[in-house]
Symmetry: C2
Subunit: 319 residues, 2 copies
């Protein structure tokens, strides 16, 4: 007999609540907010063919579904607390569920957070996680705080996830080891939670890179009422990406999407603090440009010459 909805929840998703007042199993979960803290909430929906391919291992999908939400919390500088999971499944496939839960809880456990509730239903595969975190009141990193003169920074490297997508699409061929590296970047992004928390009080703005550098930087610039100058040669990239043909390499770096790195700004005077935060979080960071007055986003080459680059990030209804 097929696994029922409530057995499915019991078998794969119910674990005892440790931090929450009440976890899975009632009409609502109950959380006890810490006095003086503000609650950060992020919700992301993942759809097959859009956010992941049918070829992804269930463990990696479980990881990624939570990682993209933790990445939003990281961009606010939040300490993750808990999450809910709503899941539409074509059928109750135990091998899929066991793997999915394994990847999901492995990442949750590394961040000390718990699944407190959610929903399961039959339907086309769809994963919706809402994640909760907290920050001391008034300290959340926002998109709106970038100021002319600030330096622009990015964590990790950019573009590998997009290059992986090109491999899956058949428009790029690399050797097996390189493909595994790119694929891992696409399927197993590491949310920069530790870095985000350490950047509170240091960074003037932050956003996580999900729709591509130019598009996400555009959100920051519009919200902050400023422009920016990006140095293409400064953008951090893996050796695999650096070996790609320049047009594709540039496309992956600037418009890649799915990077889940932090893009943030800080005054030049805070450079030592930025570097200390990155060291403490054990995440490389790279200065990639400057915030400027005005509203223009200019990308320059190694000689400082502006490149003809159209702005715009990933749009789910235009791609």
């Amino acid at each position: 007999m097929a696994l029922g909805e409530f057995e499915l929840i019991d078998r794969y998703f119910t674990r005892p609540a440790r931090r929450a007042v009440l976890g899975i199993g009632d009409d609502c979960a109950l959380l006890a907010p810490t006095p003086g803290m503000q609650l950060c909430v992020s919700s992301d929906m993942l759809v097959e063919g859009r956010h992941f391919l049918a070829t992804v291992a269930p463990q990696r999908l479980g990881h990624k579904a939570l990682a993209v939400n933790l990445s939003d919390l990281a961009a606010c500088g939040a300490e993750p607390l808990a999450f809910t999971l709503a899941l539409a499944l074509p059928r109750a496939d135990e091998a899929f569920l066991a793997g999915f839960a394994e990847g999901l809880f492995a990442l949750a456990d590394r961040h000390g957070i718990e699944l407190v509730g959610g929903d399961t239903t039959a339907g086309p595969l769809n994963l919706c996680i809402t994640a909760f975190g907290q920050v001391p009141a008034g300290t959340a990193l926002l998109r709106s705080g970038a100021r002319a003169g600030d330096e622009l920074w990015v964590s990790g490297t950019l573009g590998d996830a997009r290059a992986a997508l090109e491999c899956f699409r058949g428009t790029l061929a690399v050797d097996a080891a390189a493909f595994e590296q790119l694929r891992r970047a696409m399927e197993c992004p590491e949310p920069r939670v530790a870095l985000g928390r350490r950047l509170r009080g240091i960074a003037s703005s932050a956003i996580d890179l999900s729709d591509g550098l130019l598009g996400d930087l555009g959100h920051v610039l519009r919200r902050s009422g400023v422009g920016a100058r990006l140095r293409l040669d400064a953008l951090p990239r893996s050796a695999v990406l650096a070996a790609l043909a320049p047009p594709l390499q540039q496309e992956c770096l600037l418009r890649g999407g799915d990077d889940y790195e932090l893009l943030f700004s800080a005054p030049p005077s805070r450079r030592p603090d930025v570097l200390a935060a990155a060291r403490d979080a054990d995440v490389p960071v790279t200065c990639i440009g400057l915030v400027e007055a005005g509203a223009a986003l200019v990308v320059v080459d190694a000689a400082g010459q502006p490149l003809p680059v159209a702005a715009g990030g990933f749009d789910h209804f235009r791609t």
Copy 2:
């Protein structure tokens, strides 16, 4: 040109935050919990063909998507605060979105709550709302508090939504006015938020009826470690339902699903308080049976004779 993802959010879903510290437009929403309150969280996912039919008006779908979450908050006795919406759409259909937003915000406004964040993506139609409410610490109504000797109560009437489904399936024919009433029950459930809040400190347990009376009562009985005796003739029903053939009528009442009424228990000594709460909330309530020692769920007829009724509610992977 098709409406883009960010224009779609701006046009239909972005309104200024009033209660939240920060609403739509950053990586996270920010909520400031009230000192001494616990946060209630509920997440529901609605899939076409499972939770609504393709024939539903967008306004009603917007209403229902939020209503089912508010119903969970009501079952905890919570004051609703805010919600997130994640939406997968086959395409950016403006007529659909305008109607959906209208129904959604009409209900949100009646409860003084706001949309603080979410996600939009292309994909098979899927609606996931996560709703937040608050209760004074320790006062949430739970499924686990029913005690032998308590009376069992239900709000409103039962079974109309299921009867509507039978009409859509072509297994039941009623006149046009009756059909409109049944259809309204299915498409526009009214979350019993005011009643739930007034039942704090009075009801010993509560749950909202989404999977059918027997199934949901079963959850309460298992969590509370008790049994119950239900009187079939006492179950509140509309005149339309009361006119249906007894077998279908009984099926709709006991296993209907989609009722979104509150099922709750209270000691007989609190009967005056239950009735006062119902009067204050302007919602009819009916005593439908008793909580008993043991683990059995017995349904009896008007003469007190047990009926041969199999337990079990709606299961998304077995229906």
